[in-house]
């Protein structure tokens, strides 16, 4: 059943990809045919932003025990902390991949429509800072070898990064003095600028990316949980209650008097 669903997903994704090439040209752009890059630029940015929000929520759960109702009570259960941190990490990792995809397609769009790979557009620049902020999150995690510290400090930084991340994504590009400098359209969606086949294609890709995200997230969390389980049982594997660790094959040995 799972194989059939995966095959179906690949087929729909292939069909959607072909569809993105057949949508009509967007004549408002400098190179109307190349405006299709938008279809691969917008959905990853939306999914990535949601993932970063979820990542922050799980980071909060990793360091604060919200069940007690007190926001000042630290998470004392190491198992809970590790598991919520894993969920936070999974969200931020997958979100980062989508953000990189957004940046790459944005750079392509910039070259095709504005004439430069990098035009120091405020929107482009602010998004690069978001990428740098989350790159620092990974650098911080790599700097700690102890899993417990990695979880606590990683979650702390994810919380700290949320405010500048959201400011750069939602507030900064919409400041009046920034908006007038930017070439990046900021009201295409809210102003109803995306219509017809473009809108249908964007919605389909959003749904497909969301399905892919859920699949990748579950896979990443499952793999992480297995790693955590292995870490927890590490000591037990080497010494099973004082007895030698059980082996897969046990042969009966008979010793005769001649031996």
């Amino acid at each position: 059943m799972k194989t059939i669903l995966k095959a179906l997903y690949i087929l729909v994704m292939a069909a959607a990809t072909i569809w993105t090439y057949s949508v009509p040209d967007a004549n408002a752009f400098q190179k109307p045919g190349m405006a299709r890059v938008f279809l691969w630029h917008f959905p990853p940015s939306v999914i990535g932003t949601f993932l970063m929000m979820f990542g922050t929520w799980f980071a909060l759960r990793a360091v604060v025990d919200v069940r007690t109702g007190s926001w000042m009570r630290a998470q004392t259960d190491p198992v809970q902390r590790a598991e919520f941190d894993l969920k936070s990490l999974a969200c931020i990792e997958i979100g980062y991949i989508f953000f990189v995809l957004t940046m790459v397609t944005g750079i392509m769009f910039s070259y095709l429509q504005w004439g430069d790979w990098w035009s120091w557009d405020p929107r482009q620049t602010s998004f690069l800072i978001v990428l740098l902020i989350y790159a620092a999150y990974f650098a911080l995690r790599f700097a700690y070898s102890d899993e417990s510290k990695k979880a606590t400090f990683g979650a702390g930084y994810a919380l700290l990064a949320f405010l500048p991340g959201m400011f750069l994504t939602f507030v900064f590009p919409r400041l009046p003095q920034i908006k007038e400098l930017s070439l990046h359209p900021s009201d295409s969606i809210t102003g109803g600028g995306i219509k017809g086949q473009y809108a249908q294609c964007v919605i389909l890709l959003l749904v497909l990316f969301a399905i892919l995200t859920v699949y990748l997230y579950r896979l990443r969390v499952r793999a992480g949980m297995m790693e955590l389980e292995m870490e927890r049982n590490n000591g037990k594997l080497e010494n099973n209650g004082g007895d030698p660790a059980p082996t897969g094959v046990v042969r009966r040995i008979t010793v005769s008097e001649q031996d």
Partner: protein
């Protein structure tokens, strides 16, 4: 714990003050950094008359690196000298954060004022809106301190802590730099209050408030690990 939180904050602040006064390493390092930066910028520009936006941009870059290189020390030193565990025992996390943050605010304000005065002197810039310059500088210092102090605490137990603390704090402070430059360039006569001055002042004060308000909670969550 018998003491109240005000006493603990005061004790942590005084500890920082006495440690600093004993060696003066933090203030001297950041002051030297400031003077060298100002001289380097003046030297690079030679006799060229710099634009308000360029002056504001360079000043904020100097402030950013001065803060990220000196303020993160407060927690790194505790781990290096092995006194962090003692601090964990004698004061509650909020008091440790506020004690260190207040001292860092003081240190950063002193450094920033000296850096700004030297910088304006070397570049012969004219401040057309002094109050906006002061507000940008003070709110910027408060925001810088809140975020950098927290980053110092987060990176303090890592292997390559000095480099890491600067590496993780600089990207977080870039939005702040954008707001600071926006406010300061207007104070230097490049733009009007209506064309972004208001937004940058609100943004800087908001950033400072958010960082200093949420900082103790995030710090409390990571400090005891």
């Amino acid at each position: 714990m018998n003491s109240n939180w005000q006493t603990e904050i005061k004790a942590v602040f005084l500890k920082e003050w006495r440690t600093e006064m004993r060696s003066l390493s933090g203030i001297l390092t950041s002051l030297l950094f400031s003077v060298v930066t100002v001289y380097a910028i003046g030297f690079a520009a030679l006799s060229t008359k710099l634009h308000g936006t360029v002056i504001a941009g360079m000043l904020w870059v100097a402030l950013l690196f001065s803060a990220s290189s000196s303020l993160t020390r407060s927690f790194l030193v505790e781990e290096e000298q092995g006194t962090a565990d003692l601090l964990r025992l004698v004061a509650r996390p909020h008091a440790v954060f506020w004690g260190k943050a207040l001292f860092n605010i003081f240190q950063n304000l002193v450094t920033s004022v000296i850096l700004s005065v030297l910088y304006l002197g070397f570049t012969a810039a004219t401040v057309t809106m002094p109050w906006l310059f002061v507000v940008s500088l003070v709110a910027g210092c408060l925001s810088l301190t809140g975020a950098v102090t927290l980053c110092g605490a987060i990176a303090a137990q890592a292997a390559n802590r000095s480099m890491l603390s600067a590496a993780i704090s600089v990207p977080l402070l870039l939005p702040l730099v954008a707001l600071g430059v926006s406010g300061m360039r207007i104070s230097l006569g490049d733009g009007s209050w209506a064309s972004g001055g208001m937004a940058s002042v609100v943004g800087l004060i908001g950033y400072a408030t958010a960082t200093l308000a949420t900082g103790p909670y995030i710090f409390a969550a990571v400090w005891k690990s």
